[in-house]
Symmetry: C2
Subunit: 314 residues, 2 copies
């Protein structure tokens, strides 16, 4: 059986025809062209879906959408500026197919859990280290959505409740996101660059705006002490958040995605070493959570969305 | 149909005959009499079960056991000093009934979720504020056990990663348990009693060992500033942990149990006020987690254990 997966972002709409194993058979897309109405955006999604469906037996459509999704309704999406939009019924009317909508981060986590880095695992938590820290939790093949559809806001778990903790975009301080996002890494790198004029950080990033999420890792690789300190501090905060997630869920897999995760083993190896002693009962555990990087890249969104449609059809 | 629920503690073994609605029909118990072998303890459990079963049609036995439980095996129990004990098969052989074992905190949470404070709710997280901070997560009527059976160690979520954060029994610092357990409340009260000789705390607790989890609440009720400060600080830490739990799970209900929860609305009202602004997206949420106290008391253990047996039989 075939399914359609749609990944609706603030910049682009991506859509794919996906088989029941999560393999992409055909892909398409169009710019989101914001600002415009929810109906206009959905009309474009319907056009993409109808193109991909043409002449084929498609069982349903899954959509990953930024914001808080409850049932078929997008309660609130900051990126899209949507409020209480009944996306499912609107899109169903335009495509004559069953439609299911989920939060985009959760849907991408479902893709990684079912056919990506956690394929075959009982449970997985995906942590996205980008501008913010996003999360998705998949337990026994199902997304954890909670009572309101708003669960899995792992980035807004406070790990540093103290005066002077860095401010988060959510308004609070000391959130996992404010300490372990790529934005936090860049902030720490900029600070180290200023306080250590002798550091290679200043060669790699001659101007402050040249600093990226790679700068500190690259400096550390060259033996730079200030770069190493930034990487160690960042890794510590990431470890505290990941260890909390393990102590809470004890998932079979934690998968990291987003720009920072591209460091691969340079990040994973010290991270695993830092996490292990933080796990409650680690001395006695016979099974351990596997900490790894995600494998589907940007396609996790459309694949996960299609597999969400499949899970609803099953 | 009838089920047996067993709550195995370090001091007592409690057992009850429970109907499918979670009503207790008959109760019994015996001291655990530690230290002794796992087999000897289970022989006593079997005697209690066989007494309660006599002449009745019982579908199965559920057991709540302290420690890490995976499948039918108790991997490790610090309280009982058990290592890799195959409890299910041992007890099944002695009773000729199906047996299922779960962690005691998780099993008690199942009782509260199904027939206690969260009856009818889609999901519930129970947080026990006692010597430590225990937790149990029930999603769609099922206990969250994770890959290893060790999930829901909510007390060992670090909320204050900073130098000087209070040490936890687990060896780390800044755990939710080290800031929001009854033990933490008593520690803060003792500190305030010493630094504020003028405080009512010294009248209520003339000697340091007179301090209990109630002392600061009682002082605050009398208008004592130092007592009020302790209560406010404690409530803040509890709110940070509860808000993290809500941002992660967004359960329909958070139920508090343990000694501190006996403060009832004196604790709940300021707690709810502190938690609300900490919830991600609270400005837009239409549904809110209900924060309340547990209702089954010490019987949550045997009732939850019996309902665990029921869920396995279903």
């Amino acid at each position: 059986m075939l399914y359609l997966g749609v990944d609706l972002g603030g910049t682009n709409i991506k859509a794919a025809l996906v088989d029941e194993n999560g393999e992409i058979l055909q892909e398409t897309g169009t710019p989101t062209n914001l600002p415009r109405s929810a109906e206009a955006v959905c009309d474009d999604i319907a056009v993409l879906c109808n193109q991909l469906t043409a002449g084929r037996d498609v069982a349903g459509i899954g959509v990953g959408c930024p914001g808080t999704v409850d049932g078929g309704t997008v309660l609130y999406s900051n990126n899209l500026d949507w409020h209480n939009f009944e996306m499912c019924s609107y899109l169903k009317a335009k495509t004559n197919l069953p439609v299911v909508v989920g939060n985009d981060a959760n849907v991408a986590a479902l893709g990684e859990a079912l056919v990506g880095c956690a394929k075959g695992a009982q449970s997985a938590v995906v942590v996205t280290l980008g501008t913010g820290v996003g999360g998705g939790v998949v337990l026994d093949g199902k997304i954890l959505t909670g009572y309101t559809g708003a669960a899995s806001e792992l980035g807004h778990m406070v790990i540093q409740d103290m005066p002077g903790a860095p401010r988060c975009t959510c308004g609070r301080s000391g959130c996992f996101e404010s300490l372990a996002s790529a934005t936090a890494l860049i902030r720490m790198t900029k600070e180290a660059r200023r306080t250590h004029p002798e550091s290679v950080l200043n060669t790699l990033a001659p101007a402050e705006e040249d600093v990226t999420g790679r700068t500190a890792f690259d400096a550390a690789a060259q033996g730079d002490a200030a770069g190493r300190e930034v990487v160690d501090t960042y890794t510590h905060y990431l470890a505290v958040g990941v260890a909390n997630i393990i102590n809470i869920f004890f998932p079979e897999v934690v998968g990291l995605s987003g720009g920072v995760a591209n460091q691969g083993e340079k990040l994973l190896e010290p991270l695993r070493a830092a996490v292990e002693p933080m796990i409650f009962g680690h001395e006695f555990a016979k099974k351990h959570t596997r900490i790894t990087t995600c494998t589907l890249g940007y396609r996790a969104g459309v694949i996960g969305a299609a597999l969400l449609a499949k899970s609803q059809a099953d």
